[in-house]
């Protein structure tokens, strides 16, 4: 199954037969004090810098989230989308917990965006899916609902099915639903990663849809977070994730993405990896 995202002349195809699509995670103030402060003041220079930096580091799609306390999120998200679109060519993943902010961001986007996100909550599905449909976008579906995030892979699959069904009822084709089976901190539950991997592989078997994953959650509270994230990303991709959300500006992470493609036969003659390596470590 292929999900196609597009903006002007730039098209990105997500699918199991294609190389990994990296969704850059850095335009998000959660846990980033400097960006949060800038956004509180309505300053978007840092957003532009982060966009340029991530695309240079190999991001194929950029997530844009500007959620901080006490601001006009719809207005700021709209402005941020404009700033990012002016700075880089790639498609965007418009990310907010507020439906009105999603609509504001989509209203200034030309092409087919990804919307982050809906989940299995009735209210969320009812509010967000019509917006996704109206703007002809694709949508990320998180496998959680009114009762929280189920620990068990089977229940996460059931929520994924519910989301796909609700989207199809709204007229959104199944290939435009990208499931996020949710990585939870392994520091507070030793089996958390296993359960997520199980969910990924069951969603792949049963639904065959594309899957994303905010992998960084997995390493919360641990040392060597980048190494944990990098290895987990590789495991997740081997089980069915096709467009992880990650930070490509961290070499450990980008290298893991490149090598995962290479080892899974999606980098002919290893040339993509080698050319990135050359660029990073020039012979001078």
């Amino acid at each position: 199954m292929e999900t196609i995202l597009q903006r002007n002349t730039c098209t990105v195809t997500i699918g199991p037969q294609h190389p990994l699509v990296i969704i850059g995670e850095r335009i998000n103030p959660t846990g980033r004090k400097k960006l949060a402060c800038a956004l509180e003041k309505g300053e978007l220079d840092l957003v532009r810098d982060e966009a340029v930096k991530q695309v240079a580091a190999g991001a194929h799609v950029l997530d844009v989230n500007v959620g901080v306390s006490g601001i006009d999120e719809p207005g700021l998200l709209r402005d941020a989308v404009k700033v990012v679109c002016a700075a880089v060519a790639v498609p965007l993943c418009i990310d907010s917990a507020l439906p009105s902010a999603l609509a504001a961001g989509l209203s200034v986007y030309e092409g087919k965006a990804l919307v982050n996100s809906v989940n299995g909550e009735e209210r969320k599905l009812k509010e967000v899916l019509p917006i996704v449909k109206h703007y002809g976008a694709a949508v990320v579906g998180l496998t959680m609902d009114d009762d929280g995030i189920p620990r068990d892979a089977g229940r996460r699959l059931a929520i994924a099915e519910k989301i796909v069904n609700a989207a199809q009822k709204e007229g959104i084709p199944i290939e435009d639903v990208i499931i996020d089976p949710l990585a939870m901190a392994v520091s507070t539950d030793s089996m958390a990663a296993v359960e997520t991997l199980k969910a990924i592989s069951r969603v792949r078997e049963k639904l065959g849809v594309n899957q994303t994953l905010g992998a960084s959650n997995i390493s919360f509270g641990l040392p060597e977070r980048h190494a944990v994230n990098a290895l987990f990303t590789a495991l997740a991709v081997a089980n069915g994730v096709t467009c992880p959300i990650l930070d490509p500006t961290v070499w450990d992470i980008r290298r893991a993405a490149l090598l995962t493609d290479l080892l899974l036969g999606k980098d002919e003659w290893c040339m993509n990896f080698i050319s990135v390596y050359r660029e990073k470590f020039p012979l001078d």
Binding site: A36, S69, G70, P223
Partner: protein, 213 residues
């Protein structure tokens, strides 16, 4: 018998050792309350300090807190109800619209092991439920957790609902979570404190209640 080894076992998260030492201490006739206050709590305090200095990581803090809990479980039945050293009742929950629970559960675990009674309202908690629980359980502090920015209006609504209620004058309010800032929590919402992580939350609650850390 010197019980410093018990403190050390809590710090290192050696549950089996800690339980054995506690049983030994009980057999030797040590005062159960004194075991908790003099040996267990200082151990967990040290764990909190080390976590804040990033000398240890979340799993280590969890193991220490669980170790402490196992010891307290042994001691609790030996302490007469009316003299039980409950430091106060803390009502906690994740605000309406938000289902994240890791941070809240960490705070709960640390508070319980530090000697507080915790009433956990779970996630997605409407403001009135916080007010009712604070009244029902005669809470000293209400703790709000919020990770999503959509939680902002509910944090504000909940803080204001508690402050405006009949228990408002007596209950202190502390908030924490990834979406929140001290400016928003203490400034705009009017809460009594902001906590940047679980260990900070326990410290700030002790400060609010004027309990020596």
């Amino acid at each position: 018998m010197n019980l410093d080894a018990l403190t050390e076992a809590v710090v290192k998260g050696k549950r089996k050792d800690a339980v054995e030492l506690t049983q030994q201490a009980i057999r030797d006739g040590h005062d159960p309350e004194k075991i908790i206050n003099t040996y267990l709590i200082p151990g967990l305090n040290r764990v909190g300090e080390r976590f804040q200095k990033r000398e240890i990581f979340v799993p280590e803090m969890m193991i220490s807190a669980k170790t402490m809990q196992a010891c307290v479980e042994l001691l609790k039945p030996l302490i007469a109800k009316d003299t039980a050293p409950a430091l106060g009742v803390i009502v906690i929950g994740t605000v309406f619209g938000d289902l994240h629970d890791i941070g809240k559960n960490l705070v709960k675990l640390l508070l319980e092991s530090s000697g507080f009674k915790v009433v956990d309202l779970g996630e997605n908690v409407p403001s009135q439920k916080f007010v009712e629980a604070a009244r029902l359980h005669d809470a000293s502090v209400v703790g709000l957790s919020s990770l999503l920015t959509t939680g902002d209006p509910y944090v504000e609504e909940t803080v204001k609902a508690i402050k405006a209620s009949d228990v408002g004058a007596k209950v202190r309010i502390i908030c924490g979570g990834a979406a929140l800032t001290p400016k928003f929590v203490e400034g705009q919402c009017g809460a009594d404190a902001y906590a940047k992580d679980a260990a900070d939350g326990v410290n700030k609650i002790k400060k609010l209640l004027e309990i020596a850390v």
